[in-house]
Amino acid sequence: MSRDLLIQISYFVTAVLFILGLKRMSSPVTARSGILWAGAGMLVATVFTLAYPGITNYPLIGLAILVGGSLAWWSGKVVAVTNMPQMIALYNGMGGGAAAAIAAVELYRGDTGNYAVTTLAVVGGIIGAVSFSGSAIAFGKLQGLINRSLRFSGQQVINLLLLIATLVVGGMVAAHLNASPTFVTSFFVLALLLGITMTLPIGGADMPVVISLYNALTGLAVGFEGFVLNNAAMIIAGTVVGSAGTLLTQLMAKAMNRSLGNVLFSGFGDTGGTAASGTVSGSLKPIEAADVGVMMAFAQKVIIVPGYGMAVAQAQHKIWELCQLLIDRGVTVKFAIHPVAGRMPGHMNVLLAEAGVPYDLISDLDEINAEFETADVALIIGANDVVNPVARNDKSSPIYGMPILNADKAKNVIVIKRGQGAGFSGIENALFYLDNTRMLYGDAQKAGAELIQSIKAVG
């Protein structure tokens, strides 16, 4: 069998393993084996690619895989579960950068000899470069390295001009089969800049959507570079991820009741801080953990609404311990998960799964919203925007129209919160000022421990 045919067969096997792996990852029962299948596919493709005809530079290839792979392996192993969203952004950006690097090698070499191939290299190059620099900014924001959302007037005009400039220079590169290196360089510089300026103004609350979008974009870029290299494994895997990621991005944007264009171009989260704060009146009413413990111990139904604050404090274990105490006392306990709670869709589910909370106690927004009216206590743990009632009734608020958890309908609302500041998106929360709301200040882990103590004290 010729070497080329063998490689083609290995790519075919890889494509099948990837699709079956993703399929298995879409059900909780088989999810764990799904990543193993996909991993086996990756291994097969990589090993057979090393036997590609005409490959040289083996020491360099080996060194790059060793350095890149071991750094990523180490960082992926040590990262806390709460920080996984930004690590996904980081690894995703690396993939986009790699796709852009492939485009760069092909374009600098300038021997593709085919306008269609050069055009695909340019398109994949733009998408990959934007995904690379954009994901890096998203990582910086979630990691707390970049605190402010940079906005200034005329920003969208500048972004638009930058996009046009990138497309024009890219078009010129594609139109000359052998473009000068200066052109190619300025093309990539522009594309990288575009990714940065596009992502900088986007507020923190929208980051999950943005990461998901860049994930889809990287997939597309990989698919396009697959056409350039005539590599079926890259085409199929990249395109599958591109379309799956696009669907996921749409689902997330829909959960926030906003269009993707709105997320990308409206500069959400920065105007809200001052504009919305004037509409909230009343005062914050603090409460002691002991009182909350008694309230919950004698409740019939408690609904827990976890948010990013629970993730930051790593409080999921304490909270589940607390819930088990309540369940033992005969209290009905449910978890209400907003689709965009935390930093990613399903972020809270991952954390609760880590703590060992069974699936059947966890409900989505649609399932649980009618139940808040019958709940004695809604316990908000570090969640903010997803329970803010202004989304229902304040048309001037940037989050107006976003579906929220109706925690304000519960008889008592207890909010565990670190301080008195506004949430990640910078919007004042009207829920905190309601008559039936009490604030339990403190770190979620510490507050959870105090609540456990006070419930045990009730006996």
Binding site: A38, L50, A98, M234, A237, G238, V241, V357
Partner: protein, 103 residues
């Protein structure tokens, strides 16, 4: 591969991706995003080919960075996804209560 065949592959792969994810429960959205993040780490094979065919210093340098980044994407994506799904295994068997009490 001719242009039309490539177009068909693109179309079929796009539908496959859409179908695979359309029945995913919300609880698996993050692991699946992470899993698909791993899958586009296949860019590694392209980066290897690009670096393997490089001759000038410029091409080699860019190709080296490409392979390094791609290996990071694949390895990091795998480790993080596996860690996430590992958690679902323990609670998925409906023995969540006993698992949590061990903490």
């Amino acid at each position: 591969m001719t242009g039309m065949v490539a177009l068909y592959i693109f179309m079929l792969a796009a539908f496959t991706g859409y179908e695979v994810i359309s029945r995913v429960p919300v609880i698996l959205h993050t692991p699946l995003m992470s899993g698909s993040n791993f899958v586009h780490g296949i860019v590694l094979v392209g980066a290897i080919v690009a670096l393997g065919n490089s001759h000038t210093t410029l091409e080699k340098s860019i190709g080296f960075v490409g392979v390094l980044l791609a290996a990071g994407n694949a390895m990091g994506g795998y480790v993080v996804t596996e860690r996430m799904l590992e958690m679902f295994k323990t609670s998925g068997a409906r023995k969540g209560g006993s698992g949590a009490r061990a903490h």
